[in-house]
């Protein structure tokens, strides 16, 4: 049987033809990672396969390895064993195309240039994301609108509250409209309105043939009702 395929227009100034992405969209096989000096592996032969349109929640205690798994899926950390492919692309070998597809929101409230305004942070990211020139302003405006940051656009990031910073971080993460969204404790510091905006973006990503991994110690079903699969990471195993 021929595998199902989804189409994607890769962002490029020279407008290349749409790239065919084979299903599954995310394919992590046999992932293992052991920290130096650690007695037990933090991840032990973990498999995760996701199709377009899927939302997977991964829960687990503090230190269970959720963040490590996400960092491996983004290519920030190399596993000791196993392979990661997103849309058939590998994190190191296909680095540039891979990072056009994948976005990662780390936990905590870091990752902003605090002396820059919200708009300046977003403009910088639109350039680093290599969004074509003609689309950059639109992408920044859309990100501001998506997380209701209009009133904060001219404010410096170090003058924002934690919740406002989290919205800016989410706006940065989703600015280039990635197909695969990896969220680590994304609802932290957000008020109800912020969570609703985040869930709307998650839904939009799924509708656009993307997929989302939502990691948190626990999932509030009221905040995130549309989870397709709920997995637990415990003792290095994903079940």
């Amino acid at each position: 049987m021929r595998p199902a395929q989804a189409t994607l227009s890769v962002v490029d100034e020279r407008q290349p033809p749409p790239v065919l992405i084979p299903a599954p969209l995310v394919e992590a096989r046999g992932i293992s990672k052991r920290w130096a000096g650690g007695a037990a592996p933090v991840l032990d032969d973990v498999d995760l396969t996701m199709s377009a349109g899927e939302l997977v929640a991964i829960v687990g205690r503090n230190g269970a390895g959720k963040t490590t798994l996400l960092r491996i899926l983004t290519g920030l950390i190399e596993p000791d064993g196993g392979t990661v492919k997103v849309g058939g692309l590998r994190p190191r070998a296909d680095r540039r195309a891979f990072h056009r597809l994948v976005a990662f929101l780390p936990a905590a409230n870091t990752g902003l240039y605090v002396r820059l305004t919200v708009r300046q942070n977003l403009e910088l990211w639109s350039d680093l994301a290599l969004i074509p020139r003609r689309q950059r302003r639109g992408a920044v405006d859309a990100a501001i609108e998506r997380f209701d940051l209009g009133g904060l656009a001219a404010q410096r990031a170090d003058r924002l509250s934690m919740g406002q910073r989290q919205r800016v971080r989410l706006a940065l993460t989703t600015l280039h409209e990635p197909r695969v969204l990896l969220l680590d404790e994304a609802a932290n510091s957000l008020d109800d309105e912020g969570v609703a905006l985040l869930v709307a973006v998650v839904e939009a990503t799924r509708r656009n043939a993307g997929c989302v991994v939502w990691c948190a110690p626990k999932i509030d079903e009221r905040e995130l009702p549309q989870v397709d699969r709920r997995l637990t990471l415990r003792d290095g195993r994903l079940t």
């Binding site: 920030l76 990072h99 240039y113």
Partner: protein
């Protein structure tokens, strides 16, 4: 600020430089204090030049002109060695480095772009220093060759950039590099002849003047700014700078890439 016609990669590099400019100018005190310390340095060496007699110089003014160019280049030397690793470390602490790694533009290109603003800023500071020395102390500026000093200055800065990239690679793996950089800058200042002619160096140390780009850069710029005699022919000094660029730049970029790979393998890329 829109930049019509730029390719996405060039636009991203310019955006990194613009970011550095915005962050630097968002603080006012460092700008003032660096200007004041620059003036103090000039005043100090002006009086030192009155106190000492060095055979290689006919008058105290000759030595002062010599050392002023050395001090101006020291700004660039300091910037090349210290600014990039320091900024890289700040990015690690602030969690912004993670974003650069995850961006399609990438961490290697970002770090390369991050070398530009500090070197331009340091070069501008050096030029300001020379201008102040010319106005306040009357050092004899060779105006007819000063325009040539601008492209030579950029070539020199380009040949210095790999040292910053190598230092940044060290930060990515070991998380610290600053204490070592201070020693290296002090050593380079001695063997490159920033404060005194390299002819005064003992024979056993002379080799160190030949194996780095700072000596030919200092020699050329000193000649172009204040008309000091050249140690080597122009073509030889320019050739050395081009050679150092051609050899060191790819090596330093490869070192950054390997450092990123090592940090990713160890899982320490987000640590600081």
């Amino acid at each position: 600020m829109r930049r019509p016609g730029l390719s996405p990669d060039v636009a991203a590099a310019v955006a990194v430089m613009r970011r550095d400019w915005l962050i630097t100018t968002s603080y006012r005190t460092p700008l003032i204090s660096s200007t004041v310390s620059l003036i103090f340095g000039l005043v100090l060496f002006h009086f030192i030049s009155r106190l000492v007699h060095i055979e290689a110089f006919q008058t105290p003014d000759d030595y002062f002109a010599f050392v002023v160019v050395g001090l101006a280049i020291l700004q660039v030397l300091n910037s090349a060695f210290s600014t990039l690793p320091s900024v890289a470390r700040q990015e690690l602490v602030a969690g912004t480095f993670e974003r650069l790694v995850l961006s399609p533009f990438g961490a290697v290109r970002s770090l390369l772009s991050m070398t530009v603003f500090p070197l331009v800023y340091a070069t501008a500071t050096g030029v300001l220093m020379l201008a102040f020395a010319a106005v306040a102390f009357g050092i004899p500026v060779a105006w007819e060759t000063v325009p040539i000093a601008i492209p030579v200055g950029f070539l020199a800065a380009l040949s210095f950039a790999p040292f910053g990239l190598l230092a940044a690679a060290t930060v990515l793996v070991f998380k610290q590099a600053m204490s070592g950089m201070t020693w290296i800058v002090a050593g380079m200042a001695i063997v490159a002849g920033l404060y005194f002619p390299i002819s005064l160096l003992p024979d056993w140390l002379r080799w160190a003047s030949e194996v780095q780009p700072f000596t030919p850069a200092v020699d050329l710029l000193r000649h172009l700014y204040v008309g000091a005699p050249l140690h080597d022919p122009v073509w030889q000094s320019v050739g050395k700078l081009v050679g150092f660029c051609a050899v060191l730049l790819p090596i330093s970029l490869l070192a950054v890439d390997r450092a990123l790979h090592t940090a990713a393998r160890r899982g320490t890329i987000t640590e600081y």
